[in-house]
Amino acid sequence: MPRKPIELPMQVEYMSILDDTGEVDKELEPKVEAAQLKDMFRWMLYARRVDERLLKLQRQGRIGTFPQATGHEAISLGSAINLKPDDWHVPAYRELAGFLYRGWTLEGILIYWMGFEEGARPPEGVNDTPIAVPIASQLLHAAGMGMAANIVGDKKVVMTYFGDGATSEGDCHEALNFASVFQAPVIFVCLNNQYAISVPLSKQMHCETIVQRAVAYGMPGIKVDGNDILAVYVATKEAVERARSGGGPTLVECLTYRYTPHTTADDPSRYRSDEETQRWVAKEPLIRFEKYLKNKNVLNDADIKKMDEEIEVRINEAIIAAEEATKKPPLSDPLAMFDYLYADLPQNLQEQREELAKALGLNTSETEPRNAATSARRGA
């Protein structure tokens, strides 16, 4: 036939397991032990409480502008728990739950939002990159890591995150293409919260789903309810297993809603209605997971109260620790801006460091540059 439809070899899927009333699909329900389920809830709750407290701190002027993560906990945690510590976790900036789960200290996170590079230093023992500010740029690093994993042959996988707005960047395309061409073990988790600051998805792209982009790369793709931690968990688990066994990358679209302003500097009333937001509140991920766990008798109100109390203590301690840290070197030392640009400190930077020290009335001999042999050796 000289004019005919082209059969596309791959289909993209949709999956939901735990609906917004808390009902579960028994067939698809993953087998997860009670203790782990409870732990998942704890991490989600922790992230939620941290987010709420960050907002207060921001309003008090104790931290800077930040993007809230409320409502994105199921996506971030439900996917990250499928990683081993030495797998790579390559987030954007709404993966607060994942950061905490991967071992980033709350103290460090606070220090980051207080405006210090020190807060972007990943913890030891995990392979994590810090927050990626330039949209979509991190996806290429993830693709490269996956290519490296194939070269080294060590069976690590890479999980990377991006928003619906990020899909428009050329880097997103190049990353998906590189990962598919090289069959890199990368799971591309899209947090589709339907907005890029003020721009709704319908103005970001002219197609119904993000997951259909997978067709353009001959890549498996699945869309899930991103407020359903079980669906996120199952979809990313499958993707991780496929990646680890040589099956290449997967695109996972997770549909949620940006429940909060874009950042604390944003005013959503300019571009969307409160009713819309309210409609989505009922679907948010913690409520339904709580219902599900209670139905399963894995969790009760006393548990939650206890968790909340522990979390509050932890948050309070971290805030004190972070605020204390800012008063001492290295945080209190402005010369630290020169410390880690290169493994060594070139002549011109030495001179500029001294110039700044002089301007600030500091004694450079007392504050040695910190980019010492250790980091040089690590890089070498």
């Binding site: 800077g64 502008t65 980051y112 207080m114 405006g115 210090f116 590079e117 972007a120 500010v133 330039p134 949209i135 707005g165 990020a166 428009s168 960047e169 050329g170 880097d171 890029a196 600051i197 003020s198 721009v199 103005k203 970001q204 792209m205 500097a265 944003d266 300019r270 571009y271 800012t326 945080l331 402005p334 630290a336 801006m337 020169f338 640009l341 011109n348 930077l349 500029q352 460091r353 110039e355 700044l356 002089k358 301007a359 600030l360």
Partner: protein
């Protein structure tokens, strides 16, 4: 006109330009209903609708590339990149096409577009939100680069940029958006691109700056006058490319001493070009080495250490005193 801040003055110029010329269209991320993350495009979308005030997808190369296409078509796009740090995504479009179509086609196809972009530090932002890399564009043939230092110059330069037949990078030092107000004239004013302004005459030393650090320069001049009895000549460059060599040389030939101030990195920055031109045109008049008070050759730090990074009045005063006492 009432007194207004710089954000308002830029907004006014956009309104005026869109009202006057239906070829002017405004495009960028969040510039429509949201009216820009700094509210600089306030009221435009409501007045002109989404045909002429276009919220684009999140893609900087797309924004610049599409704006080039519109300019080739005959429109006069004023494209916004949300922060100067993200302009790098579009650098190939800016360098390879915006600045070259006229040259490539020997005058047949031209790119009369403006690329507006909040630049510089001073607003307690996270990484990549405080960049000042205008020198990169000054080093790219075919572009013009202007940077206002307050409400009045902002409005006048934006009109000049929109009317210019060639692509103009228009940086908005965001620290100035709401820092102070100024009177702007009733009628539309333009400033000639490529011309600096001597904002204070003096005879012992020349201070040269542009954009946000004009404030540091003025602060320093006040201190120098009060404490040292030195009246500094102050030049506000306004145009980074083309650079007004003549005004610079005339001043330094008179004063013999000079400090140049900007917040972008020092190496290969605008300051180095200013020094090089003074070397070429006024070496024999120099009584002391020119000092550069600039950002250091490190990424501008996250906001906690940003103040230490940025030039301020004190740093300029120290440099000026060194130059004066040389």
């Amino acid at each position: 006109m009432p007194e207004m801040n710089m954000a308002k003055a830029i907004n006014l110029a956009l309104h005026e330009a869109m009202d006057r010329d239906s070829r002017v269209i405004v495009m960028g991320e969040d510039i429509g209903p949201d009216e820009g993350v700094f509210r600089v495009t306030e009221g435009l979308w409501k007045k002109h609708g989404e045909k002429r005030v276009i919220d684009t997808p999140l893609a900087e190369s797309g924004i610049v590339g599409a704006a080039i296409g519109m300019a080739l078509y005959g429109l006069r796009p004023v494209a916004e990149i949300q922060f100067a740090g993200f302009e790098y995504y579009a650098f190939h479009q800016i360098e390879m096409h915006a600045g070259r179509y006229r040259n490539r086609t020997r005058g047949k196809l031209t790119v009369p577009m403006v690329l507006r972009c909040p630049s510089g530090g001073g607003i307690r932002a996270i990484e990549h939100h405080s960049e000042s890399r205008e020198a990169i564009y000054a080093h790219s043939p075919g572009l013009k680069v202007v940077i206002p230092s307050g409400p009045r110059s902002a409005r006048a330069l934006l009109h000049a940029a929109i009317q210019d037949p060639d692509p103009v990078i228009y940086y908005e030092p965001k620290a100035l958006y709401r820092l102070f107000k100024e009177n702007v004239p009733e009628t539309i004013e333009t400033l000639p691109i490529g011309r600096a302004q001597v904002i204070q005459e003096g005879s012992e030393i020349t201070l040269i700056s542009y954009g946000a650090t004009v404030r540091a320069m003025i602060d320093a001049a006040e201190i120098l006058e009060e404490e040292d009895g030195v009246k500094a000549e102050m030049i506000d460059l306004l145009s980074i490319a083309p650079l007004d060599t003549e005004t610079i040389l005339n001043s330094v030939r008179k004063t013999g001493r000079c400090v140049v101030i900007h917040e972008g990195p020092r190496t290969c920055g605008i300051g180095s070009e200013v020094v090089a031109r003074i070397n070429e045109g006024a070496l024999l008049y120099l009584e002391a080495p020119i000092k550069r008070v600039t950002g250091y050759d490190v990424p501008i730090p996250y906001f906690a250490r940003e103040k230490a990074y940025l030039p301020d009045g004190d740093k300029v005063v120290s440099a000026a005193r060194e130059v004066l006492s040389f």
